[in-house]
C-alpha cells in the first residue's frame, strides 16, 4: 500500500458523557474520498474532532503526513456541522469565507487584496458569489453549507474534514458539494466526510471508515462495505459493550449507579 497520509494509533476518547471511542487504529492513503459512517452516537463527530485536536484523547495519537497536527495545521481544513454556530452573528458571507485565510495570515495581519480575490473565486466555485454581501442569517440551509465549504476551500489545504455536509441541504447543493469533492479528489486531495445516508455510500466514496465506538472496518468501499460489516456497525451486538462502558464511566466519576 502507498504511504498513508492520515494515521491513528490506539486512540481512546472519553467525552464528557457517554459517546466514547475505544482503541481505534487506522490509516488512510492520500487522494481518497473517505466516508465516515456509523449510527447516531457512534462517535463520528468525536472522531474527527479528536483528529483535529478539538477533543483531547485519553490515549493514542493522530498523525498527518507522518507528523503531529501542530506541524501541518494549515494543510488540514475543517467544515464543522452547520448547527454548531449562531447564524445570527453580525458578519457577511464574505467575512465568513475570509476566515479561511486567518490561519495563514497569523496575528496582526489583515486580509490583503489577494485574499479578497481568492475569496471571490471560491465563492464562485460554490455558486455563492452573488450573495457575498449578504448577512449570513439570510441564507438557506444549503447556502450556509456552501459558504462553510468555500471557507475551507480558501484554506487551500490537502486534507478536508467535513461534518455532515449533506445534512438538511437541498438537492442542488448536494450535487454542487459532490462535484466539488470529486474535483478535490482529482487534484489529489483527501476528503473525510461524516455521512448518514447509507444508500449512496457506494456512489459517493471510495474509502469508508465504519465506526461504532470501536472501529468496525476501514478500507476501500469495494473491500469492506458489505452486509456483514454493516450489521456489525448498526447491529445490537454492541449494547453490552456500551453498558459496561457506562458503568465504568460512572465508577470513575464516583457516581452511584
Amino acid at each position: 500500500m502507498e504511504k498513508p497520509i492520515f494515521e491513528v494509533h490506539q486512540l481512546t476518547v472519553n467525552y464528557d458523557k457517554t459517546p466514547v471511542l475505544f482503541d481505534i487504529s487506522l490509516s488512510v492513503p492520500g487522494g481518497k474520498l473517505v466516508g465516515i459512517i456509523g449510527p447516531n452516537g457512534a462517535g463520528k463527530s468525536t472522531f474527527i474532532k479528536t483528529a483535529l485536536g478539538l477533543v483531547k484523547p485519553i490515549s493514542g495519537k493522530v498523525e498527518f503526513f507522518s507528523e503531529p497536527l501542530k506541524n501541518v495545521r494549515q494543510r488540514v481544513a475543517y467544515v464543522p456541522q452547520r448547527e454548531s454556530v449562531d447564524w445570527d452573528f453580525p458578519i457577511t458571507v464574505q467575512d465568513l469565507v475570509l476566515m479561511g485565510r486567518y490561519g495563514k495570515l497569523g496575528l496582526f495581519r489583515f486580509p490583503r487584496a489577494a485574499d479578497y480575490v481568492a475569496c471571490d473565486h471560491y465563492l464562485e466555485v460554490v455558486g455563492m458569489l452573488q450573495y457575498k454581501e449578504r448577512q449570513i442569517s439570510q441564507l438557506s440551509g444549503g447556502q450556509q453549507q456552501r459558504v462553510f465549504i468555500a471557507r475551507a476551500l480558501l484554506q487551500e489545504a490537502d486534507i478536508y474534514f467535513m461534518d455532515e455536509p449533506f445534512a438538511g441541504v437541498d438537492i442542488a447543493t448536494e450535487k454542487v458539494i459532490m462535484d466539488l469533492l470529486r474535483k478535490l479528489k482529482s487534484q489529489g486531495k483527501t476528503v473525510f466526510v461524516v455521512h448518514h445516508d447509507l444508500n449512496n455510500v457506494e456512489n459517493y466514496f471510495d474509502w469508508v471508515i465504519m465506526l461504532n465506538m470501536r472501529l468496525i472496518a476501514c478500507g476501500s468501499v469495494s473491500d469492506v462495505f458489505n452486509p456483514a460489516t454493516l450489521n456489525d456497525t448498526y447491529g445490537k451486538s454492541f449494547s453490552l459493550f456500551d453498558e459496561a462502558l457506562k458503568i465504568s464511566l460512572q465508577k470513575s466519576k464516583g457516581i452511584k449507579p
Binding site: 483535529l52 494549515q74 454556530v85 458578519i91 467575512d95 476566515m99 486567518y102 490561519g103 471557507r151 438537492i171
Partner: protein
C-alpha cells in the same frame, strides 16, 4: 427657571470637565468590551464580575483606613481601590471557571453563585468599615451606586489610558476575536491561540468593569456592558460597525447622563429649594443607555419592532389580495363568466364591505383587476397570470406534502393555503424539479403550467 447651559461648558469647565470626560471614556470602554460579551452570549458575566469587584473595593478602603490615608490622598486611594477591585473580580472570574470546569456546575449557576457570594462578602465587610473607618464609608457607598461628580482630572488620564489600551487590543486582535466568537472550534483548527486571547479578553472585561463601577456603580454596571451593543446590533450586520456604533452610543449615554443629571439637579434646586432632590449621574447614564436601546429595538430599520409590524401588515395585505384574485379567477372559471359583481364577491368573502371595496380599488389601481362598464370586476391579463401562479404554488405544495411527507390528501389544503404566498421562485424551481413538474394535484385538479405565453 433658568435655561440649560451650553453642552460645551461640560468639556471646558474645571469642575464639570472631569466627570463628563471620565464618564464618556468609561462608557466607551464598557460598550466596546460589551460587544464581545454580548456576542458570546455571556451577558450575565458582566453582572457577576461587577459584583465580584465589590469586596476588592471594600478591602481597598480598609487598607486606606489602616494606613490612615486622608482625603488629600484621593488619587492614591482611587488607584488602590481600582487595583484591588480588579484582582477581586479576577478571583471571581477564576472561581466561576473552576466551578464550571472542575466541579461540573452549570455556568449560569456558577455565575449566580459567585455574584451573590462575593457581593455578600463585600456587604459584610462594608458594614464593618462603617464602624471602624466611618469617614471612608462614603467612598464605599460611591462604588455601590456610582459617583461621577467627585472625579478629578487624574481619572481622565487613567481612564483615557485604559480606553486606548482596550481599543488597541480590539483592533489588533479583531480577526481573532471575530473568528473565536463566531466559531470557536474552527478558530482552534486554523491555529488561533485560543487560551491567551481568551485570557486577554477576560482581563479587558474585568478592566472595563473596574473602570465603570466608579461612575455607574456595582449594581448597574452590567447594563452599560449590554445596552449599547444591543442597540448597535439593531442597526448593522457588520461586526466592525457594531463595535463603532456601540462605542458611539456608549459615549452619548455617558455625556447625556452627566449633562441631564447636572442640569436637572440645578433646575430642581431652583424649583424646590428646600427638598434637596438629587438625580445621581450613574443611574442617569444607565437610563439614557437603556432609552437608546429601547428606541433602537423599536425603530431600527430591518430589525426594529415597529418596521417589523409594518412588514407583517404588508404581508397580510398581500395574502388577502392574492386570495381575492384567486377567488375571482376560480369564480369566473366555474361559472364561465367574464367578470364578477361586488355583491357576489362580498357573499363569498368574510371581509367587511368597506375593506373589500378598498382592496378591490387597490387591485384595480395596481393593474390586477379592471372594472367593466356594467360595474363588475374582471381580471386583467397580468392579474390572471398572478392568480394562476398562486394556484400553481398551492397545488405544487400539496403534491409535495402528500408525496414526500406522506400527509393525507385531505389535510394538506390548509398548509398550502399559507405556503402559496411564501414560496419564492427559487423554491418553486426546486419543487418543480423534485416533483418532476406534475400536472395534477392530490385532489385531481390541474396544476397550471409554469410559463404562460
Amino acid at each position: 427657571m433658568n435655561s440649560f447651559q451650553s453642552p460645551f461648558i461640560f468639556f471646558t469647565d474645571a469642575v464639570l470637565r472631569a466627570p463628563t470626560i471620565g464618564c464618556m471614556l468609561m462608557c466607551l470602554t464598557a460598550s466596546l468590551v460589551g460587544v464581545i460579551v454580548f456576542l458570546r452570549k455571556q451577558s450575565l458575566l458582566g453582572e457577576s464580575l461587577s459584583h465580584a469587584a465589590y469586596p476588592g473595593v471594600v478591602i481597598g478602603v480598609m487598607i486606606a483606613g489602616f494606613f490612615k490615608l486622608s482625603d488629600e490622598d484621593q488619587s492614591l486611594i482611587a488607584l488602590l481601590i481600582m487595583v484591588l477591585a480588579f484582582f477581586s473580580s479576577l478571583i471571581g472570574l477564576w472561581s466561576i471557571h473552576w466551578l464550571s470546569r472542575k466541579m461540573k456546575i452549570k455556568t449560569d449557576s456558577a455565575l449566580c453563585f459567585i455574584l451573590s457570594s462575593f457581593f455578600g462578602i463585600g456587604l459584610t465587610l462594608a458594614s464593618q468599615v462603617q464602624f471602624s473607618y466611618s469617614s471612608l464609608y462614603r467612598q464605599i457607598q460611591a462604588y455601590l451606586y456610582g459617583q461621577a461628580a467627585t472625579m478629578t482630572d487624574v481619572h481622565i488620564y487613567i481612564y483615557g489610558f485604559f480606553s486606548l489600551l482596550i481599543i488597541t487590543v480590539i483592533c489588533s486582535f479583531y480577526k481573532e476575536i471575530q473568528v473565536m466568537t463566531f466559531d470557536r472550534d474552527y478558530a482552534k483548527c486554523i491555529g488561533v491561540k485560543i487560551k491567551p486571547i481568551d485570557t486577554l479578553i477576560f482581563i479587558l472585561i474585568a478592566l472595563a468593569v473596574v473602570i465603570g463601577i466608579r461612575s455607574v456603580g456595582v449594581v448597574l454596571m452590567s447594563a452599560m456592558l449590554i445596552a449599547p451593543p444591543v442597540a448597535a446590533r439593531q442597526f448593522t450586520n457588520k461586526l466592525y460597525l457594531v463595535f463603532i456604533l456601540s462605542g458611539i452610543f456608549g459615549m452619548i449615554s455617558g455625556f447625556l447622563g452627566n449633562y441631564l443629571s447636572v442640569e436637572l439637579n440645578t433646575a430642581l434646586a431652583i424649583k424646590y429649594p428646600g427638598d434637596r432632590l438629587i438625580i445621581p449621574t450613574g443611574p442617569m447614564i444607565v437610563m439614557v443607555a437603556s432609552f437608546i436601546c429601547l428606541v433602537s429595538l423599536c425603530f431600527a430599520p430591518q430589525r426594529g419592532w415597529f418596521l417589523r409590524i409594518i412588514r407583517i401588515g404588508r404581508f397580510r395585505y398581500r395574502c388577502i389580495s392574492e386570495n381575492l384574485l384567486k377567488a375571482i379567477l376560480r369564480f369566473c372559471h366555474t361559472n364561465e363568466l367574464d367578470g364578477i359583481s361586488f355583491e357576489k364577491i362580498e357573499k363569498y368573502q368574510s371581509l367587511s364591505p368597506f375593506r373589500l371595496r378598498y382592496l378591490l380599488f387597490r387591485l384595480c389601481k395596481n393593474g390586477w383587476l379592471e372594472k367593466t362598464e356594467s360595474g363588475s370586476y374582471k381580471l386583467t391579463k397580468d392579474g390572471k397570470v398572478r392568480a394562476e401562479k398562486i394556484i400553481r404554488l398551492h397545488r405544487l405544495w400539496e403534491v409535495y406534502l402528500v408525496n414526500y411527507l406522506g400527509i393525507g390528501a385531505e389535510r394538506v389544503h390548509r398548509n398550502a393555503e399559507e405556503m402559496e404566498h411564501i414560496i419564492t421562485p427559487e423554491l418553486e424551481a426546486e419543487l418543480t424539479l423534485l416533483l418532476k413538474d406534475p400536472k395534477q394535484d392530490p385532489h385531481h385538479q390541474p396544476i397550471p403550467p409554469r410559463e404562460i405565453f
